[in-house]
């Protein structure tokens, strides 16, 4: 399966952007503008819909071939690239997007050629699949767990670490009683919201610090 690694799906979609000389500003610029204003963390559209580990949207203007022999090649149109590491099977993931964030999808993809709108669910799924490329090779640092499982694990890890830190040196009887209470409390807690578990960091990039 070129698009799957364990239970994680590597989705790649390239949608041609409408070329319309009369549009002001042009459709690609309208997409860029919309994307630049999207929220992050818990407010991100991809946190509102289920099943996204990581996603990105990119406007690709052109890919210019610069190698030898000398020639000049261009793409036939500009493209919107959508890449997502997501859970489970593709149909239910796409349905989840259409169900939960139809306005965002329409606001972005209405600038793409042939987009039918999110309201027509089968047409939407067919459109996305028609634009799909095989991912073939991808890396998703998610240990083959679903988004919900990952969030649960982070929640458990944090809670257990806090419990240990606050219970060092406590006598065995108290420790057991409080641990039983703690486990019951932890089980009853709702899973954290997607996008909520990261530390608040002002730096938006991971390892780059330019």
């Amino acid at each position: 399966m070129p698009n799957k690694n364990g239970s994680v799906y590597g989705l790649t979609i390239l949608s041609p952007i409408i070329e319309d000389k009369s549009a002001t500003p042009s459709h690609d610029l309208q997409i860029r503008n919309y994307l630049a204003h999207l929220s992050t963390r818990e407010e991100s559209p991809f946190a509102q819909a289920p099943g996204t580990h990581l996603a990105r949207l990119v406007v690709m203007d052109d890919v210019i071939y610069v190698g030898a022999p000398a020639c000049e090649d261009h793409l036939k149109s500009k493209y919107l690239i959508f890449e997502s590491n997501c859970d489970g099977d593709l149909d239910s993931y796409l349905s989840g997007l259409a169900e939960n964030i139809p306005d965002h999808l329409d606001a972005v993809w209405k600038h793409c050629v042939g987009y039918p709108g999110a309201v027509n669910r089968p047409a939407f799924i067919n459109y996305m699949k028609a634009c799909q490329l095989d991912t073939t090779f991808f890396f998703a640092a998610v240990n083959d767990k679903t988004v919900t499982e990952t969030l649960r694990a982070l929640q458990t890890q944090n809670a257990v670490a806090d419990f240990i830190a606050t219970h060092q040196g406590v006598d065995a009887v108290t420790l057991q009683r409080e641990f039983i209470e703690f486990v019951a409390h932890l089980k009853a807690m709702p899973p954290p919201k997607p996008g909520s578990m990261g530390p608040h960091r002002d730096i938006k990039t991971g390892g780059r610090n330019e």
Binding site: A161, A165, Q168, I203, G207, N209
Partner: protein, 461 residues
């Protein structure tokens, strides 16, 4: 590769002088022409990397410039703009990237660092207080004669003296100063554990370009450097950080945590750093200090973490394991070879032995200086990713126990094992043991480059 030209490289770059007293002068230039004249007069005073062959000088002098200082020397714009961005910006503007926030933020720095006032650093080291004073007086009179600069501030530093002898101890009581990296072409007494780890488990020197501009680095590339080439070659970048140490806070925290920790106070102190306070690496002697290891330079930096993946001996978040992970990330240590830094520095302030009353508000800490070819790739990466963050070591958001900016939060985990004398333990509610009081990024040029600057011959064309 052939031997480097030691007569062209400032001695401070090639070797730790191991001289017990120092004063760092901070200059503001007064007029480009006079400042250049001052540099010209200082040129013959600068200590180079030439070997001393047994006869140590009584004192040494070295010089470095901030980007502002180079501007005030009126280097050509095309040269000034060719310096790496982080050097142009200076350390204060990089505070967010470095995690210098809370009590470490520039608002809390000493006045000279809060504003863009320092143009140059002159580092003077001495064998004795007298030789240091004499060299400082001579340097200051040169400054006054030429009118090229004002010494707006100075910082004294000195090795901690215990039982009448200068030591390599710092204020928390740890023996410091083990293991700077070896580099190709630099002659020094090397010891295993100080360069890069090779697939056959031996150690080899790092590429020269990890320290000096103008040479190939570990990627086989020339480091990003200003133009012209001659200005950059044989030079390096220096980080200067004045790190205040809250010794009272440290001792109180260690005492309090020791009551809960089954391994005892000294073992807990060792777990923070990865070495017992006498310098014995935990990796080589997990249960007791061992002077036989400390005194043996073939052993005291020769260890790896591959056999201690769980951190039973040396915690995964211990200071020395964070800042020099050796083979801890796998791939025979190759992931870290471009993140190495050379450290210089000395403590400042009065040393207070254990058991005597001590106060956090007293001036006391360490002048920490870093030398590297790329501030952003080396020092800034280590500070941001390995000191102020834990993800590379799979420690999530945990920061370095002693250097991290905690503000009363955060956690340090001693992994430990089932043995009662080496139990797992979690330190939480971490105070700020160390506070940044200021500093900046400096360019430490070669002797040739200093001459070019002095003569106004820097030509980027």
């Amino acid at each position: 590769m052939s031997k480097l030209n030691e007569t062209d490289i400032q001695g401070f770059v090639l070797r730790g002088y191991n001289l017990p007293v120092a004063r760092y002068l901070f200059l503001r230039f007064e007029g480009a022409a006079r400042a250049r004249k001052l540099i010209g007069r200082l040129l013959s005073e600068i200590t180079t990397g030439q070997r001393w062959d047994g006869v140590k000088p009584q004192s040494t002098v070295n010089i470095a410039f901030t980007h502002r200082g180079l501007e005030r020397l009126e280097l050509p714009d095309a040269t000034l703009l060719s310096f790496p961005v982080e050097f142009q910006q200076g350390m204060r503007h990089r505070a967010e990237i470095l995690g210098d926030c809370g009590v470490n933020s520039p608002d809390h720095w000493e006045e000279i660092w809060r504003e863009d006032r320092v143009d140059a650093w002159i580092g003077i080291n001495g064998v004795t207080g007298e030789s240091l004073e004499a060299r400082c007086a001579a340097t200051l009179s040169l400054i006054n004669e030429t009118g090229g600069a004002t010494a707006i501030s100075s910082q004294d530093a000195a090795a901690v003296v215990i039982n009448g002898k200068p030591t390599t101890s710092e204020h928390f009581g740890y023996t410091d100063g083990f293991g700077n990296p070896d580099y190709l072409g630099i002659e020094r007494s090397t010891q295993p554990g100080q360069g890069k780890l090779m697939p056959n488990r031996t150690w080899a020197p790092l590429a020269t370009g990890e320290l000096l501009l103008g040479y190939a680095d570990e990627a086989g590339e020339l480091p990003v450097a200003p133009i012209p080439h001659l200005l950059a070659s044989n030079g390096t970048f220096m980080v200067y950080r004045k790190l205040h140490q809250n010794v009272a806070t440290f001792r109180a925290y260690l005492d309090k945590q020791s009551l809960l920790y089954g391994g005892g106070k000294e073992k807990l102190a060792a777990k923070f750093i990865g070495r017992w306070r006498d310098g014995t690496p935990l990796e080589l002697s997990p249960d007791h200090p061992d002077q036989a290891i400390v005194q043996n330079s073939n052993r005291n930096t020769d260890f790896t973490y591959g056999a201690d993946a769980e951190g039973n001996r040396c915690p995964i978040g211990a200071h020395i394991r964070r800042v020099h992970p050796r083979d801890a990330f796998g791939f025979n240590g190759q992931l870290i070879n471009r993140r190495r830094i050379t450290r210089r520095g000395l403590p400042y302030g009065r040393f207070v032995p254990e058991g005597e009353p001590v106060d956090d508000t007293e001036e006391r800490g360490i002048i920490f200086m870093v030398l590297n070819a790329s501030l952003s790739r080396q020092f800034e990466f280590v500070q941001q990713q390995w000191v102020q963050y834990g993800n590379d070591a799979r420690l999530g958001n945990d920061k370095d126990m002693l250097l991290g900016s905690h503000g009363g939060t955060g956690r340090f985990v001693v992994q430990g094992e089932a043995r009662p004398s080496n139990p797992p333990f979690v330190c939480s509610n971490l105070p700020d043991f160390v506070e940044l009081r200021g500093g900046d990024y400096f360019f430490l040029p070669s002797i040739t480059a200093l001459g070019m600057i002095a003569m106004g011959l820097v030509d980027p064309r």
